[in-house]
Symmetry: C2
Subunit: 478 residues, 2 copies
């Protein structure tokens, strides 16, 4: 099953990939609109026009309705929904979380999903909410793990298996669970029970949960952020390594008269002008029906995915995330990521490579671009810049921030360690020009910030320009 997902482009921790299912290929990052089998605001067959290549629906709702169940078993889920592309099914975990119990076993619903021809099936995990005691999270997580193990034995050879990662807001449990699940070699790894975090705008906590899960998951598997459907946080979630989203938001928000944008939500009644060019809004009339509002919400969601994919291809995902994080709670998340990125190791290698071919390479536009990236760093107080973290690990706690150093680039925070160009650079033993370039960028960074800098350096970094640097930083030979 391991070749079903292929990654074609990477930027930050986001990627573009292809996930093969029995009913075709899903290009990720992908948004799977949630289709209610009883009453769809937008019919499944109409979803393709917005850019949807795959859908998600709820197997438990079908199972509970004799008419739908019979039809699904007889003709298959694709015929039932009138959609011939990939269909993922959820299991009833949401109903379990909402109503406290459901009338089916995990094994039964997995077998049912297999029998109705679902492309990606899900066992009944226990969606442990945020902030519960550690013991409860651990106990429920063990149940989830057992059910996933069981599902691997009954999901059949065709259907892809989704193995949800739980663990509440306990990051070590999230990581442990992710590591255990990775050994089961499932096809898709949803991150579960994060809806309460999103509903209360706890994007910083959400980011920590995603990072903890990613730290434990195999990096060659697609990750689904269960229940995430607001385009405002797609860029952030993709940058953290999420590949699949499902959106009931387009319909739920439309029902509440709410208009989605890539930077937030408006009540339609507050809008004198429609700030969008989608085919619905282009008509120019700010009075939208619920159906039209749902269509706008879909257009804007899929346009945001294209914006993200294009940013990945162009290597500008981080810039896009920053633009999207004007919303205070998202900004908080961005800062959390910058602080806690140690969780992210080990991290995958990334797209292109930077080949250092001599003094000229130190003047490449990539380095100027890297320097521009640096200028956006939030940096204040006492900052340690170290050329050898092993030797300075013990002093890091005395500083507000620690940066690493790499020639010809210069200083960089840990979170950029595996991104282009730092992570993909092939640099021989640094030469005079490359060290000069790095020191120049270090000086530029210090001068652009209000920081008290200390440069801890190995003998390799002895260079004429240390003299200039000493005007801006305390020098600390290692």
């Amino acid at each position: 099953m391991s070749d079903r997902f292929e990654i074609t482009h990477k930027d930050v921790f986001g990627r573009i990939g292809k996930l093969d299912t029995p009913h075709g290929r899903i290009e990720t990052p992908a948004l799977l609109p949630v289709v209610n089998p009883n009453e769809a605001l937008v019919a499944p067959a109409e979803m393709r026009q917005f850019g949807a290549t795959a859908l998600i629906t709820n197997a438990y709702i079908i199972y509970r309705n004799p008419r739908l169940k019979e039809a699904a078993l007889a003709g298959g889920i694709h015929e039932l929904l009138g959609f011939n592309g990939p269909i993922m099914t959820d299991s009833g975990s949401f109903q379990l979380a909402t109503y406290g119990k459901i009338e089916i076993s995990s094994e039964e619903i997995v077998v049912f999903q297999r029998d109705i021809g679902s492309d990606i099936g899900t066992p009944i995990d226990i969606p442990t909410p945020p902030d519960v005691p550690y013991e409860r999270a651990q106990r429920e997580l063990n149940v989830t793990l057992e059910r996933i193990r069981e599902a691997t034995t009954c999901c059949g050879a065709e259907m892809l298996l989704a193995a949800p990662v739980q663990g509440s807001t306990h990051l070590d449990l999230r990581k442990q669970h992710a590591q255990l699940l990775s050994k089961l070699n499932a096809d898709v790894y949803p991150i579960g029970a994060v809806v309460p975090l999103m509903e209360s705008y706890r994007y910083a906590d959400l980011s920590n949960v995603i990072m903890a899960c990613k730290a434990g998951l195999a990096l060659n598997k697609p990750v689904h952020l269960f229940g995430a459907g607001h385009p405002m946080m797609f860029a952030l979630a993709v940058a953290l390594g999420c590949d699949l989203f499902d959106s009931a938001a387009y319909a739920l928000y439309a029902r509440g008269g709410r208009y989605l944008t890539a930077t937030g939500t408006h009540h339609l009644s507050d809008l004198a002008y429609l700030p969008c060019s989608c085919p619905i809004c282009a008509a120019g009339d700010p009075e939208l029906t619920e159906r039209e509002l749902g269509e706008h919400n879909l257009w804007v969601s899929f346009a945001e995915l294209n914006t993200i994919k294009q940013a990945i291809v162009a290597g500008q995902l981080w810039e896009l995330v920053e633009r999207r994080c004007g919303y205070p709670a998202l900004l908080q998340a961005l800062r959390t990521i910058q602080k806690n990125c140690a969780l992210f190791e080990p991290i995958e290698p990334l797209k292109s490579s930077f080949m250092y071919t001599g003094a000229e390479s130190a003047a490449r536009p990539d380095i100027a671009r890297f320097l521009n990236k640096l200028k956006n760093l939030e940096l204040a107080g006492r900052v340690l810049i170290t050329t050898d973290r092993k030797k300075t690990r013990d002093m890091e706690h005395e500083f507000d921030a620690t940066l690493l150093m790499k020639a010809p680039f210069g200083p960089y925070p840990q979170e950029l360690a595996e991104t282009y160009p730092i992570g993909q650079s092939e640099v021989p033993d640094p030469d005079y020009a490359s060290i000069k370039s790095a020191l120049k960028n270090l000086i530029a960074l210090i001068r652009s910030k209000n920081v008290e800098a200390t440069f801890a350096y190995d003998s390799m970094w002895n260079h004429d320009d240390l003299n200039e640097l000493s005007s801006y930083a305390t020098l600390l030979p290692l």
Copy 2:
């Protein structure tokens, strides 16, 4: 003529207004697509679908072409173009700037514009380029002034008169010229000869020119930023008080295979995905014809205007400008504005009002929002916070920045002095709660920045919380 423009909403220095012309009303901020009378990429009659209510075309091109001239004089410009809404005409100044001479006098072309029924006509001003010697700018500006004076006598009673402000990059000349022109009571004030600034991404210089012109112009007149058609800078220009734009960019960029967005430009050939939901991009095929590219460019331009108008209505224009200024040259412009806003006085009063009704008012969301605004301030070094600028004017030069102080809000930079809520607040003599709120916000601001603060305060500001403030700032009783 003075009642032809009515302002209905304001935010920062931007506004929504209505400009009445013989062929109908233009809601501002408005984008007037440039239509080439010889070969239009998109026909005038088709422009309405994108949201255009008015067009601009070049009277000189029509005048020079015997067939077009005859048709325009016989049936009028509206019949010639097949567009029954407001049509503004340019005079040939651009051709003058490009080719060095043109074969018509300013008076002749104004009379011609009047005779073909133009809604807004323009004399032949001299578009002095940036960075020329002061004397040349002054000399040419006097010629322009004379021609505008002449135009007021021959433009007729129906046609609105556009009076371009020149002065190159000499800000005092721009302001002087604007003041002189304001006395002529024209209907529209274009800011001329800024295209070279935009072409070389000199947005900071552009902002200074706009601010200088606005400082001299009557605030109840619409201002046209001549030649500005890239949606990336609409928000900034509107926030600085520009009301009208004209776009040849949609067509020129399309001809060059360039794809406009609200945050920059892409070469179509670099786009693997189209980051947009407009009716062209929604079709999903990233191979666009020149015509389709032009249509996309129009859609995205008009959607950006709606986004700006909605931000004005919601009082969030400044936030939008910040989101749009991720592009480095625009960011530089934003910082320039923050520094040089003194030019802006006197400034118009703004939209809503903040009524202080007692201690509860100090806890309103408006104040939290104001505090959030403050957190985005670029602030470093030595900062003076003063409760009475008259008494501290002499010491300001010793500081990197000066903030004012108003209860219940707290510290604020001069550029927010006339914006909501500072400028529109009705606060009686500050009470204990309102001073406490202001001091709390001051402490929060200082703590969030790396600054060395001095608080210079009147006796009215004596308050228990000054004690806490003294941990964060030097206290200086006035």
